[in-house]
Symmetry: C2
Subunit: 336 residues, 2 copies
């Protein structure tokens, strides 16, 4: 084999927003797979807000990426060499290949996907980790009942868009908070949400009052900060707040802004609960089948925002935090 | 009847710590009870952190006390005249008489207490609202299992002291956070807690690490602020945080400090849940019997801090927020 692998290594721990100089982009030879290993040609990698946490020097739900290591990334690709009986050349697989063109793996964490059921990028979006996060976070942690008002932030994002649509499927009033008129129009006109709030234009406290006239029963929080505080003032008795992320806070160089209005939990006997999608791994296959059914029935739409070229990784990552992406952000590393 | 009633009316909404000029102390004639009413001679009133919230001009779990109205207060007394068939002259009753010497009531919210079972002040302490709060907050919301580490703040306070002791009764490791050496000694030597942390002397992050070597499974929070943030960094997977109060924040004139480390809920799939004791009203009699049994068995101790004289109410109330009281703070309004 005489193939070159391009990959992004973490060069320095970013202060605030990650910049290009925090990465090194290197070229290395592709290593032959050993017994039990597969060689995967990476086709798409996934850009996820959680990546910002992985490059902090802090214990979290996974160990931090070490300086000098290839940047961790979800993605999918095609098996081009296999010494692992579970995978054959030509298989499409999804897993954690890292931010690189070729991945050698023992197959752990990779599973086969079927490009006939859905286009490949959907497997990193509604049928991938974001879709699973939305499904389990909303239904298992949020426990919505038909007729409840469900509010979701980053509602046009990869997780949020699925949350809003599942809320509708379950008979809830779904209200999405997003930035910009185009995203808000999309939420209402394409995804069928009951209302959308443009946090860049509207006063969030007032908009929530208007668009949630019966208060808020479930809040699926992807952003933290000001929007979480505003929601807390308008929750109903027994409300459930799902803490899925806090993208507004991830690049703070100072302290994270905690929810000042958290005592509303006391007044309203409400719950704030964190969730991590990896806890639900054993249920992925069953839920992927259910959600693929919703997609075929036209009840669930998946939208991807695809940028070509691995070399753009540093700039594409930042789009997540400035809200520039519209749909699940992915890099197409290679055409088939 | 030619009796005088002294009472405290709310004169102005306090900014920050309530001061004497926020109250007016008035003398009025005692009104005859009408049909269905009782006249209660108030013996003890209860000073509770929740009072600070009642005098804000903000909707909460109860309507605010209006300027000009008698200050709301829990308390107990003796029936001295009755036109209500449910109560007889001589009955001892507990309820919400207000900050005054005599209360006329239709009997709603008052229930009889037996001074043979426990001394009267205990009915505002371990066998009163604080004890019920501790019992339901810890057991129903906190869901401790034997062997869990339970941390409680304001641990020498009326609620906290009962929380720590019930945690021990249930086979948990109980760690109390309190201010000052005397309180910490009391927690360990008299109440039998496994460890105590003096937040005024010890660095709270380090002290929690030392005294909770297996992490924290349940945190019963009465104080909010810095201690809540420190606990959040050391919770175990699936931990339960009971939000019962936030006494460190009640007199803030600015915004309440939200818990900056709340994303630990996500990393640890943990829950933060509010509770209000009044939701459990129907279960009070059963639980009071259970807790009276613990008191008789020497498993549960109740400590009261009693100040004489209703006229001292404004200064006594402030003791709650400066941590000057040691035990359940009560005013003895009259000797029998």
């Amino acid at each position: 084999m005489d193939m070159k692998n391009h990959r992004f290594l973490l060069a320095a721990r970013p202060q605030g927003m990650p910049k290009r100089s925090d990465w090194s982009y290197v070229e290395e030879p592709v290593r032959e797979p050993r017994n039990g290993e597969v060689l995967i040609k990476v086709l798409y990698i996934s850009l996820d807000p959680g990546m910002r946490g992985w490059i902090n020097d802090r214990k979290s739900y996974v160990p931090p990426v070490a300086v000098g290591d290839v940047m961790r990334a979800l993605g999918l690709g095609r098996v081009i060499a296999s010494k692992n009986p579970k995978f054959a050349v030509g298989d499409y697989v999804s897993g954690m290949p890292g931010t690189q063109e070729y991945a050698v793996s023992d197959g752990n964490g990779f599973f086969k996907i079927d490009p006939q059921t859905a286009p490949l990028p959907v497997y990193l979006s509604a049928l991938g980790m974001p879709g699973m996060t939305a499904y389990f976070g909303l239904l298992d942690t949020g426990q919505p009942k038909a007729g409840d008002t469900v509010v979701v932030s980053a509602a046009a994002g990869a997780v949020g868009a699925v949350v809003g649509q599942i809320a509708k499927i379950k008979g809830c009033r779904a209200v999405g908070v997003a930035g910009g008129e185009a995203k808000c129009r999309y939420l209402k006109d394409e995804l069928g949400l009951d209302a959308a709030i443009d946090y860049k234009q509207e006063e969030i406290y007032q908009a929530l009052r208007q668009k949630c006239p019966n208060g808020i029963d479930v809040y699926f929080d992807n952003v933290g900060g000001e929007i979480l505080d505003a929601v807390l003032t308008q929750i109903n008795r027994g409300a459930r707040i799902v803490i899925c992320g806090a993208i507004s806070q991830y690049n703070n160089t100072g302290q994270i802004k905690g929810p000042s209005n958290y005592l509303s939990l006391l007044v309203n006997r409400a719950t704030m609960k964190g969730m991590l999608v990896t806890d639900y791994l054993p249920r992925y296959p069953e839920v992927m089948r259910e959600m693929a059914g919703w997609i075929r029935a036209g009840q669930l739409k998946s939208r991807e925002h695809i940028v070509d070229g691995l070399e753009n990784f540093p700039e594409v990552l930042v789009m997540l935090f400035t809200g520039e992406n519209f749909g699940k952000l992915e890099i197409r590393v290679a055409k088939e």
